[in-house]
Symmetry: C2
Amino acid sequence: MALKLYYDELSQPSRALLIILKISKIPFETCPVKLREGEHLSEEYKNEVSRFQKVPVIKDGDFTLTESIAILRYLSREKQISDQWYPKNSKAQARVDEYLEWQHNNVRLLCSLYLRVKWIEPRFFGKEASPKKIAPYESRMANCLDLFEELWLSKTPYIAGDQISAADIWAACEIEQPRLAGYDPEVGRPILSKWLNKIRKIPYYEEVHSRFNKMVGLEASGTQVKAKL
Amino acid sequence: MALKLYYDELSQPSRALLIILKISKIPFETCPVKLREGEHLSEEYKNEVSRFQKVPVIKDGDFTLTESIAILRYLSREKQISDQWYPKNSKAQARVDEYLEWQHNNVRLLCSLYLRVKWIEPRFFGKEASPKKIAPYESRMANCLDLFEELWLSKTPYIAGDQISAADIWAACEIEQPRLAGYDPEVGRPILSKWLNKIRKIPYYEEVHSRFNKMVGLEASGTQVKAKL
């Protein structure tokens, strides 16, 4: 039975897992979930897919697992993931893990909160998003991206050292996200910009981001995205 | 050269790591860091211990690692951690990982934010903490603790299933934390309460929590803790 991946390409960790699965040539069945239509909030999804009502989720036979980083580690044991992306060497693996744990309450949290307040809530929940309301979220995200650049990219070409790894994929997918709300993470951050454009050259990165990038383009041109793409 | 642990017993993940190290009989050198005196913010700490300026941190020879969960996994490979706490079986390990990844933006974030707004900021940064300001933080934490109980404890006796694991230690240490600000996580949550009191019986749990519990007692008796204990 093939591995099943429940995902939405608009979800950052879904994109990261899609890239890892494709680049590792792991066969999987695509199970797209329309977050904007609330498919993940249905009773059916809760009962049949995941009690967490989120994406991404995998089903490997009768084993269901959520949390993209737990899934990455599970796949590294159960399937073939190249050492480049998730090293078997204990210290090298610890360096990748160190970032993947750090990012939750930094890059992931602050980029997501900004997007939520500036873009998701006004679009889908009818909440106002005044410049005054957005400002502290933007400021905290900007400080975090500065910190990310300083802590993770100022001494080494990639997050976990001299070699590219899954940490770079997870980070890049998160850092793309605020572009949907008109924020360019590359402006004023030359080191981050150079790094991000290297990561964008990973096979499947642009393919997996194509729907997301189309939405960014539509938003930038003034077309508010509400309908299904 | 012995493993060094930089920690403060008032930090939740420091306590979790202390318990794991002690229970696993892993020899280590204690390097206490006084968070309330800002020792972690010094240039010396930044340059000599960790550029992240946080605890916990380990030094294993010349290898420095931050992030408690990355450290737990590193120790499970490099030292002897019983299978009970961090299973070698792939699916069982994934269940522990699933919680450890989930908790970052749930139990950890929301209990920490509540403590920060209600207790840390008024005590140490002179910020006001009116009931109106605290209410949304308390409400979000309470909802999260309800969700924790439902998602992780309603079907199985322990977080990752029928067996106790590191996930229970990490969770319990976080859930103790708001007690410092007068919030009892057990009230109205019989399942959580029963589970927490089982986890408190783990060897070294109460020993590692003794300084923290002393502070909780002082706060409850009306003595604001500012001085070094």
